[in-house]
Amino acid sequence: MALSDQELKEIAYLARINIKEDSFSSLKKELEQILELFEELNEADTSEVAAMSHPLDLSQPTRKDEVTEENQREELLKNAPSVQSGLFLVPKVIEGEV
């Protein structure tokens, strides 16, 4: 199945993955090969079946609306790449003077 350059660029942006120019065409070819596999499903007659949601057909359990997690702010921030004043730090997202 053919994938256009534009389509691949859009998917990559949706997935927020930068793709280097020099790997673009080989990646496109690999993805096309995989997409080709999918064509086999067209032959299956699924007009009478419902989509599977859980192998054992379980429904989602519910629980009481109670706090079960304790506040572990310090612990959770330890793994962050950049932190300031107890907050996750990212590049500036709002323009203008602060």
């Binding site: 690999e30 192998p55 793994n79 962050a80």
Partner: protein, 484 residues
Amino acid sequence: MNLHKLTLREQLEGLKKNEFSSVELTSHYLERISKHDEELNSFITVTEEHALTHAKLADDRYKNNQSLPLDGLPIAHKDIFCTKGIKTTCGSKMLSDFEAPYSSTVYTKLDNMGMVMLGKTNMDEFAMGSSNETSYFGPVKNPWNKKYVPGGSSGGSASCVSAELAPIATATDTGGSIRQPASLCGLTGIKPTYGRVSRYGMIAFASSLDQGGVVARSAEDAALILEGMSGHDPKDSTSLKLEAPDLLKNLDKPIKGMKIGLPKEFFEKEMPEFVEKAIQDAIETYKHLGAEIVEVSLKNINLSLPIYYIIAPAECSANLSRYDGVRYGYRCEDPKDLEDLFMRTREEGFGSEVKRRILIGTYALSAGFYDAYYLKAQKCRQLVANDFSEAFKAVDVILSPTTPGTSFKAGEKSDDPIEMYLQDIFTIPANLAGLPGISIPCGENSGLPLGMQLVGNSLQEDKLLQFAHSYQMNTDWHKKMPNI
């Protein structure tokens, strides 16, 4: 004494009778790891200090008559199971320095039973791969022949148990990641029914398919530990509301009169002569043990590979969206804005196979394609599950090869994703239907082992282990170990 030659049950007996201590047993394995693992690369992290401390605690409990059910037995954990305060990398650069703030239920359960963690095993990045060549921490070698791959994604777990650097190891299976490396390394590997083992703290790849299990040297060893890992967990919403099953109870019961199904669609496929012979020999052994052989049909089974390569990447693209370089994990250097931070962090932090699958999954879920791909695949998945339900009306277990052949050379398939995906052609269907599956050694070719697979009906892990055990009581393929 060659402590690593004892079965898990024998090791447990030895500890109980004080023939040796857990510190001795643990040190014995740590020494083997330091001697052999530089070459095999089956561990990402060896937790020597942790292991010796916990072994000492186990020994103290034995002295005070307060021992726990699996007290002092060493184990290796796949590096996909979070361990509080100890690095959990999932084989990725993205998590190369990640220390989970909590432990997985699997780790906690086995820890509470006294098991001693030796370390965290190498794996394909985010469990995506069939050769353990996609790990950020380097490829793992097969102890039977170090030019060959151990399989994947639980390649480190399989390699270290096969080389007897650990008596048993945890593993996970989304499309064959326990059974395929077990087959390629000459081990017994079991993936239980979906929902048997908690996924809490087990880093997600494809949530509707992922399931934890073990690779072991025998069905008996596997039964002992799988029982300890199983059971309901309120922290996993897909966990089955069932107590852990008694997996040792039926182990020794004869299989006389029970029925084995051979799916004709599998046996119509062309396979190497040595695979066919190994499987035929296994069938003869089972006939000799009194099992009845019945042909069954799984008419939609050939759809399994395309179904899997829509559903697994779709779920992976959603699950892996959490790695954004903000809250934890790798972040690119000098991001010029937030978008650049996301785009480059994910470009640099993920390896090529992971990126391929995220992109495929993003495509399959994107507007306009959802019905044609994801929804269609979920419907086809039901067709495959229906075929199994129909077959299990007539038989107790379904037998096939685990893999299309023995192990392959490192690098041989790494440039061809489809060729690699075909490794899982026999194992994927059980994941799609959520069924338990086991691989047990049943032959060899040119010095490399080969496994057969048994798939059981939902919740019948005990029956699978009974079939595997009775085979192992009458053959010695599982006793063969590589010279490392």
